[in-house]
Amino acid sequence: MSVREIKENVGGIKGSFLIKGKSIIESDLDINVSYISKSISYLNDVLHERERDVKKITVTGSDSTVFYLDTPYILGVVASSQVNLPLLDLVAAKILKNVTSKRAVEKSKLSSIEDEVPSFKISPDIVIPYLSDYEMNVLKYVNGKNTVREIVELSEEPQEVVARVIVAYIKKGTLTLKPTLRMDFGDRSQYHFSRGMR
């Protein structure tokens, strides 16, 4: 279940977005919400520092935004005043539950590939024009030398996002994975051996 499904299941919804930490990982709004993700995350941090658990924040104007919090995720929903709030609460809870269990699956997927080295099977120039921002931020570190674990560190994207992007592009036939045997004596690229090459 993705955030897009909120609009399909609940009336009066203008759009939704999913934040992990302070990064947007999914959105169906045509507005850049990265600034909001930081604001709401800082508010959440301040409340936690004061030993307050936070489950939901509702900002009401002529329209409303409801934030559902389930660390490290925040689901934001922009809704009109006509929205059926109890239904929205149910759907949001379902989506957050789904995201959390998906995260566990992707984490295990990541641990199985974190020492592998992804590389392009085709020229990156072919796919670059079609990449979203976060896909670009992951795939720009794919150079046939960096392991998946290193790509997580370099891209600063959540682990499951990196795993999802890499696995998706392997399935599309754009990337391939090679296990690595690395001897680190300083210059990593110089002492990098791939089993596939031996």
């Binding site: 919400v33 409340l47 936070v54 900002v59 104007g61 002529s62 329209d63």
Partner: protein, 109 residues
């Protein structure tokens, strides 16, 4: 005079079932009236929540912010925006912010 009215308001609000206390805080964080012990902390949270809500409303085109409700496991906090101050009401998890809002609007009228 306004000061006296606000002090009376927070005291009156505290008498409503489920309301644990209220604080009125200026936008610069100065507590104007309060019926709770840790007024400075609650006031700071209210100002921060109010300012964050204004940023969010402006980015998402929600219109003028009228209220922010923060809900946890065992509490609810409603921050109402007025021209020069925020009124923040602490309540238990069973109390309806909608009912409290109606009471506040009656008093402020």
């Amino acid at each position: 005079m306004a000061d006296i009215i606000l002090k009376r308001l927070v005291n009156d609000l505290s008498k409503i079932d489920g309301v644990e206390g209220a604080v009125v805080v200026a936008k610069d964080g100065i507590v104007i009236a309060s019926s709770i012990e840790n007024a400075e902390t609650e006031g700071a949270i209210s100002v921060f929540a109010g300012a964050t809500a204004e940023e969010i409303a402006s980015s998402l085109r929600l219109g003028e912010v009228s209220q922010v409700i923060i809900e946890g496991t065992d509490y609810r906090m409603m921050v109402l925006k007025h021209e020069n101050y925020f009124l923040s009401i602490m309540m238990d998890e069973h109390t309806s912010p909608l009912v409290i809002r109606q009471e506040v609007d009656l008093v402020l009228e």
